[in-house]
């Protein structure tokens, strides 16, 4: 007992010394909790678990990384958990657009500024999909058909309510003067299958949610809600790849929307601690597993840290405020 106490004391002293030499770089001393403000099996969950797998496989961290889903209240549970862990550098969270939409739509006491921004890992694309059996070959065909049908009889399926999918739907309505009936589902995979089964007429699924059905010849992509075409040229179906999907803007549908896949950590983190995680995610991004994952989901691989990242998030927040206000999605409406 005595000797173990002694050894511990020695080890602590040694640790202080070495860390002093190594320019006082911070390192986790306990397992790191990686919070997902979404359910198991979704896009954020897949990304977080991929990261966990990469970190474990390549031993990028001395302490283990524990992934925890806190999906209650459209992710509010997860955000509030991290918000209340000020000064605990062993807690990080992956975000999606619910970083903005959940507090705006539900009024829970949370704002992204409560957290410490770490890094943007990637941006997730949105694509307008229709069933491949339908005659619509391009955006114009489809929008014309929506205009011809009685208002509200064309159904758009999407993930969640008052979240990104519905925001895009409202923006399409505004841009084209049409009216959809938006039907919320629990997950993106379910939406894609409902579209295959013709229970809805279109969706704005992320690439990774619908790629299997595209390859199977069940769905057809019409356009991507990004300023430029996606970068991945490998053929997926009928000799076409992600690169061949035109931008919505070029098709007369002036709307851009990308979803943040970024990392935040608990409030009051020091610069050392943030730098540690930035460095960790830089290492993750360099692995072949990560690059495969980016390719399979046709992600936009923009990477940002520091002020640039915070500024980007701030701009997005303002944009969401405007979009959600226009759509009448703000809490209390």
């Amino acid at each position: 007992m005595k000797s173990s106490v002694l050894r511990l004391a020695l080890a602590t002293v040694a640790a202080f010394c070495t860390s002093g030499i190594a320019s006082a770089a911070w390192e986790p001393v306990r397992p790191v909790e990686f919070i997902i403000p979404a359910g198991t099996g979704g896009g954020a969950d897949q990304m977080a678990r991929t990261i966990q797998g990469i970190v474990t496989k390549h031993s990028l961290m001395k302490q283990p990384m524990v992934v925890i889903n806190k999906s209650g209240g459209a992710g509010g549970e997860g955000f509030l958990d991290v918000k209340s862990s000020a000064g605990n550098p062993h807690k990080i969270i992956i975000t999606l657009s619910n970083l903005f939409t959940t507090p705006l739509a539900t009024g829970i006491p949370f704002n992204w500024k409560d957290l410490t921004p770490v890094a943007m890992l990637a941006l997730d694309e949105f694509v307008l999909w229709v069933n491949a059996e339908k005659p619509y070959q391009n955006v114009k065909d489809y929008i014309d058909a929506v205009k011809k049908a009685p208002p509200g009889t064309i159904k758009m399926g999407g993930t969640g309510s008052k979240q990104e999918d519905q925001i895009i739907t409202v923006a399409i309505e505004k841009a084209t003067g049409t009216k959809f009936t938006y039907i919320p589902y629990k997950g993106g995979g379910e939406v894609a299958v409902q579209l295959v089964g013709n229970h809805v007429d279109s969706s704005v699924n992320n690439p990774i949610e619908a790629v299997a059905q595209w390859r199977g010849g069940k769905l057809r992509p019409l356009c991507v809600f990004d300023g430029k075409q996606m970068a991945y040229g490998d053929p997926i179906a009928d000799g076409k790849g992600w690169k061949d999907i035109p931008t919505c803007k070029s098709q007369g549908l002036d709307m851009e929307y990308l979803m943040l896949r970024g990392i935040f950590m608990s409030p009051k983190a020091t610069k050392d601690q943030v730098d540690y995680y930035i460095d960790l995610f830089k290492k993750v991004r360099a692995t072949p597993e990560w690059q495969d994952f980016m390719k399979s989901g046709a992600f936009n691989t923009t990477f940002m840290t520091g002020d640039e990242y915070a500024k980007w998030v701030e701009g997005e927040e303002k944009r969401h405020q405007v979009l959600m206000k226009e759509a009448g999605f703000l809490a209390g409406n």
């Binding site: 549970e77 829970i108 008052k162 995979g189």
Partner: protein
């Protein structure tokens, strides 16, 4: 024929020594996960997912799916011995399994449960082997209206089951619906009934409610009734397995019906929980021994276990062929597939033959190994009841607390579980049935969501529930189940007048 060749190739893959090893390891881990209430198959698989990252994909999915089988087997153990369902789909198993254990027939109940699980899984795997593509297209026909019809049928086939007064049943069910409504309303994106408490954002998790209502409630009751387990005289040798097996073939009709219900629920995808409830409800109506259900009837163990396992297995089919998980655990497995670079969907069966058929072969072998492992352990499990209550009760309490905590890693849930325990005790004392309450908590919000999605799509017209042959048939079946006792009475009266006339 090509399927069979592929399958045998699959067996060759699954029978490699390394794969057999991960299979056995997976089953044992799964049983442990299934026994711990709250940990659950989905959490268990999610926690162990990164461990498999360095294995070849086929071995990894074999291990993870074996954890899943193990959890399905393990869920029955605590349900039968302590009236604590380790998994949602084991709730219906407690109705007759626990009374059997109290009568000293724990060994019989466990054997029946494990064997039925195996039969259900085997049926589902054979179905997957033979008719996978056909079944996948059937699943595509299920939109919101069809899903609501399935939930409606599940509720209807369960209403009027309990011996308690119908108004108490309805009161319990309404309480369940109210609890299920707490949290985020998925249709409008607004919070409901949280009263500003951030702890309630998540709503009332089914597992917390069940662990409290059943587990803690039961311990409170036992304390009142003299601090001892009934059923300590359970036979604890392997002969009980053989003896039970002799009696099981009698129930082939129940098994077959439960298999079909299970497969259907697994594919649609409604999941193992409604399957087990529905199967139990229908068995109770149809069986000759229906009156004894709830008092320790072995058929009441066979029906839900067969259906739950058939559904759990069949749930993997829509995941592989459509990329839509039929259960939360399947959802985590789906994430795993994507991480290994396998794209589930219509092309998986064409492009990744070795993987798909290796997995299917491992379903056969995994369940067989699982059955052997759990059956040989039956005497050990049954012997637990001989441990004095004063020693085992604190252990159960600790297990329940860990289970409740691990659902969302929140201490608030542990308090909630204790609260539910007191409520469960009071409800039992006042003869309110717990099963309808539990059913409403599990399926209430899903049924509501499907109902409102349907009405959104139909612009508010109820006609959507009778708009095509599929949905109409299910709705009519539900209505028949709801008014079954009235219909039965009319039939017997008609018969009576006819015989009187003759």
């Amino acid at each position: 024929m090509e399927e069979l060749v592929n399958l045998f190739h699959g067996f060759a893959v699954a029978l490699q020594p390394f794969n057999i090893m991960v299979m056995v390891l997976g089953i044992v881990l799964g049983v442990i996960i299934g026994v711990l209430p709250g940990l659950g198959g989905a959490n268990g698989v999610a926690i162990l997912l990164p461990l498999t990252f360095s294995m070849p994909p086929t071995s990894a999915i074999i291990m993870l799916s074996c954890i899943y089988w193990g959890a399905l087997f393990g869920g029955a153990i605590t349900s039968i011995l302590f009236n604590i369902p380790g998994e949602p789909w084991s709730v219906a198993t407690t109705f007759d399994g626990y009374p059997m254990a109290q009568q000293g027939k724990a060994g019989e109940a466990l054997t029946a449960a494990f064997t039925s699980s195996f039969v259900g899984a085997l049926f589902a795997v054979i179905m997957i082997t033979l008719v996978a593509p056909l079944v996948a297209s059937f699943a595509l026909q299920f939109g919101p209206a069809e899903k609501f019809a399935v939930y409606f049928l599940a509720f209807c086939s369960f209403v009027g089951l309990s011996k308690e007064p119908p108004f108490k049943t309805i009161a319990a069910m309404m309480m369940g619906f109210a609890l299920a409504a707490v949290g985020l309303d998925s249709i409008t994106g607004q919070l409901r009934l949280t009263f500003g408490f951030t702890e309630l954002l998540n709503g009332f998790d089914f597992l917390i409610a069940v662990i409290g209502l059943f587990g803690i409630g039961e311990i409170l009751l036992t304390m009142e009734e003299g601090l001892s387990f009934r059923g300590g005289k359970a036979k604890i040798n392997l002969r009980v397995v053989m003896e039970t097996w002799k009696g099981l073939p009698k129930y082939w009709m129940t098994s077959l019906r439960s298999c079909i219900i299970g497969c259907w629920m697994g594919i649609t995808p409604a999941g193992a929980t409604p399957a087990s409830f529905m199967s139990y409800g229908i068995a109770k109506r149809v069986s000759k021994n229906g009156k004894n259900f709830g008092k320790g009837e072995i058929e009441g163990v066979v029906a839900p276990e067969t259906a739950a396992h058939a559904a759990g297995t069949a749930a993997l089919l829509p995941m592989l062929s459509l990329g839509v998980p039929g259960s939360p655990t399947a959802a985590v497995l789906l994430g795993g597939l994507l991480i290994w670079g396998l794209q589930p969907g219509p092309m998986l069966f064409v492009e990744q033959k070795e993987f798909v058929w290796g997995l299917i072969a491992s379903m056969y072998l995994g369940n067989l190994f699982g059955l052997i492992i759990v059956l040989t352990c039956v005497p050990i499990f049954a012997a637990i009841l001989r441990v004095p209550f004063s020693i085992i009760a604190p252990l159960i309490l600790v297990l329940c607390a860990i289970g409740a905590y691990s659902v969302h890693s929140s201490t608030f849930d542990v308090m909630l579980m204790l609260g539910f325990g007191v409520i469960g005790y009071l409800l039992k004392k006042c003869n309110y049935p717990l099963a309808p309450l539990v059913l409403a908590i599990v399926l209430g919000d899903k049924a509501e969501e499907a109902f409102r999605q349907s009405l959104l799509g139909s612009q508010g017209s109820l006609g959507i529930f009778f708009s095509n042959p599929l949905v109409s048939t299910i709705m009519v079946l539900g209505l028949i189940a709801l008014f079954w006792s009235a219909i039965q009475e009319v039939i017997t009266r008609l018969r009576g007048t006819r015989t009187a006339a003759a």
